[in-house]
């Protein structure tokens, strides 16, 4: 680390209406280094990397490359300088092959490589770094992890030297995370610089060489990974140690069944798997975990419960009533709270304010004079109470949902859904994108719901979360439930194996 950095940002300040997202931030990356960026939700991590990538212009501050001050005015210029960013949402065209997607990206940059040469380069890079990608595979056949590696491939072929990832592990299953970090290490050893954002302290500690923590737009600290520990990082992120999460008391008695699915089958639409003979029961006071690599029918399972998908065969019973044909409005009205997997696309209206999105909880409940007006005070009170109950700082109620940071958006959805008068909460990856403290707060809320005799269906890829919370874990694979275990009678490895279809059941 004695060489001068490849990329150095100094005194970066960026304001958005009402917030200073970055406040005189200094940040640098060396060649052959993996640099992790940590910080609580809304700390300004995404903003910083977007500035490095030329997506935002800083209000003040300079960026230097190889010691020379270089303004980066657009992503295009950034790529020209060898800086690449992989956003959370991928920018691939599913119908095209890996090679075509890469070629499309290169052609946008006025590059041209003959298809044959391109295929050779893809295979070469794929072999070298174990990307396991074939040029001719259509992208829709790829897993999420593989798609992410296509994005990485695109950057490699444009000769990027600094590769930046915004929460790359957020949508990955545990085994995919390991693969990705393996690739990161190989790239580092070849002299690349890598920057990644994460909320998982362990990931930063095991994979990174250096860790920088942002707090409310400022650098709270930057340290070598050898010198860091979970406690230190938490202290830097929040200024205080984490509160203990109350653990689940075991062996409590469950009540009556709240939700029963009996032999549910659905039709496959496009590339999504069909559910096959899914039977599942959630009782009062029970947390049922659903483990599985995402894309194995979890979304369909949620949508059947919500009433968005009608099963072709099978029965759904909710609170002892046949509810197979109930539409979402009725399910929600009868007491289902639902946290979908992708909040921006599935749970909020992006250009509505925070308050308006809260009001969507139940427009009827917040209306005045039969609908002629809206009782915004009431919505405001509900929002405030909701944030308080979860122990989170309230969000600015006039901010548009689209301008919220990833984690703050997830908080908004959680606060709204948990403000319902619900009997059953269905959460798809509910702690995705949340910082450690908020994730703990949400887990706490689920435990409280359980203690209050409500049912919880927790769909997650995070095995330690599932093991900590669930009374029972079912494993989903290709639209089927392939096993059911009790957390105290099995191990993470065992369930991890079931998730990918090796051994057991």
């Amino acid at each position: 680390m004695d060489k001068s950095p490849v990329l150095r940002a100094e005194g970066i300040t960026k304001r958005f209406p009402g917030v200073v997202a970055n406040n005189r931030v200094n940040f640098d990356v060396h060649a052959g280094e993996i640099h992790a960026l940590l910080g609580e939700n809304g700390a300004g991590k995404s903003t910083l990397v977007k500035i490095l990538y030329g997506f935002y212009q800083p209000d003040s501050g300079t960026i230097s490359l190889d010691g020379r001050p270089t303004p980066i005015r657009s992503p295009r210029e950034a790529r020209g300088h060898g800086i690449g960013l992989v956003f959370q949402g991928f920018t691939l065209i599913p119908a095209l092959t890996v090679a075509e997607n890469v070629a499309l990206f290169l052609s946008k940059l006025d590059w041209y490589i003959s298809p044959k040469k391109l295929a050779a380069q893809i295979q070469e890079a794929s072999r070298r770094y174990g990307l396991e990608l074939e040029p001719k595979t259509p992208v829709w056949q790829l897993s999420v992890g593989q798609q992410q590696r296509v994005e990485l491939l695109k950057l490699l072929l444009t000769r990027a030297r600094v590769l930046i990832f915004d929460e790359p592990s957020k949508v990955l299953a545990p085994h995919e995370v390991d693969t990705l970090f393996g690739i990161f290490r190989d790239l580092r050893n070849d002299g690349y610089s890598l920057v990644f954002i994460t909320h998982k302290l362990r990931e930063a500690l095991t994979c990174a060489d250096r860790i920088t923590v942002l707090r409310q737009g400022q650098v709270a600290g930057s340290l070598n990974a050898q010198d860091a520990s979970e406690e230190k990082l938490v202290e830097l992120m929040f200024g205080e140690p984490l509160k203990e999460v109350a653990t689940r008391e075991r062996g409590s008695k469950f009540g009556k069944p709240i939700l029963e699915l009996v032999d549910i089958c659905t039709r496959a639409v496009g590339t999504t798997p069909a559910l096959r003979q899914v039977s599942l029961t959630v009782h009062e006071g029970e947390i049922v975990g659903v483990a599985g690599v995402s894309g194995n029918g979890q979304r369909e399972l949620g949508d059947v419960i919500l009433g968005l998908i009608k099963p072709t065969t099978g029965k759904k019973i909710f609170l002892s009533q046949e509810a197979t044909a109930w539409p979402p409005a009725r399910m929600i009205g009868q007491g289902v709270a639902f946290v979908p997997e992708d909040p921006l696309a599935m749970a909020v209206v992006p250009w509505f304010s925070v308050l308006e999105n809260v009001a969507l909880l139940s427009p009827k409940r917040f209306s005045l004079y039969g609908g002629l007006g809206m009782a915004w005070d009431k919505a405001r009170a509900v929002a405030r109470a909701g944030f308080e109950r979860l122990g989170l700082n309230p969000l600015p109620e006039r901010a548009r949902a689209a301008s919220l940071s990833g984690g703050n958006l997830q908080r908004l959805v959680l606060v709204r859904e948990l403000s319902r008068d619900y009997k059953l909460v269905v959460g798809l990856y509910p702690t995705r994108g949340l910082d450690v403290r908020s994730a703990n707060a949400v887990r706490q809320a689920f435990l409280q719901a359980r203690a209050a005799g409500k049912g919880v269906l927790l769909i997650s890829e995070d095995l330690s979360e599932l093991f900590a919370l669930s009374d029972r874990i079912v494993v989903m694979l290709r639209g089927q439930i392939v096993g059911e275990v009790r957390p105290d009678q099995t191990s993470l490895t065992e369930v991890g194996r079931m998730m990918v279809g090796v051994g057991h059941g």
Partner: protein
Amino acid sequence: MDKNRLAAGSFRLLLHVVLIVGVFALFLWANGKDPIQAVRDTVRINLLQWRGLWGVMVRMAPLLLTALAAAFPFRAGLINVGGEGQFFLGALLGTWAALNVPGLPQWITVPIVLLAGAVGGGLWGWIPGLLRARGWVNETISTLLLNYLAPLIVGYFVFGPWRAPELAIYPQTPEFPDVARLPALGTTRLHVGFFIGLLFLFAYWFFIHKTRWGLEMRSVGGNPEASRRLGVPVSRWVVLAMVLGGAMAGLAGIAEVAAVHYRLKLAISPGYGFMGFLVNWLAGSNPVGIVLMSFVVALIASGGFTLQITQRIPYAAVNVLLALILFVVLAKPASGILAKSLARRWKA
């Protein structure tokens, strides 16, 4: 970024104006007309004389409503280009009411006639709304097609069963009885329809921004997927937004007939439905913007009629101009990129 965007925005606006005015001037000049004189005539006759100004406002009346015909559906994420057809259907059903109400006083007849017009337009919006809600046909396609059908239906009635006996060579209905006509303001030609337009503009604003229904409709437009998951009745709002939009255009149609022509015929619209769409697009569905843009478009249309007389420029030239505007507006992304690079070069 924000400063850049502002600069790019102003450049874009400037670019639009220069483009439109330039191309139109070129078009006039190529036809052997004097573009500067054309502008002068338009301003003198349509803006600086009371008579002309009233005329512009009379033209604004239907535009306010046909703009709303696009605005309501737009808020629900729908593109209604069927204002023209809905205008005709409104005129048709309203005429039926006007010619069939037994001798009631005006204050009761007029509302009935207007209501019938709104129902006619609403019906013409309901069909594409339903087709869309069922996921069968995209509303843009179906409203466009229904535009061709509506005048044919009106044609059938004015050539056939409703044709006026007294002047049988013209395909038109008998005149409306006095009680079915919209009163005008004093001695001017400015009729009640204009104020109805303003009233509905206000109602539109209130509905969209203040009521629960507006919130639900906007959420359907803003993110249908999320709305469905939140239990907002998406299909119902799709249909309703189209019905509301259609009703606005229908109201425009019958108001135009009952206040300006006093009888139904085929030549009741110089394209008010399409112009309304343009107005709404330019105004970004904002009520104040709709008033301003209606005025501009009405002025252009009135100017067209003036020039027909003063300079013998065919009225179709106005359609060329409006088409140009639409073209430039729809080409926003492309001109945006051009404007951005210009703005950057300017600063560098």
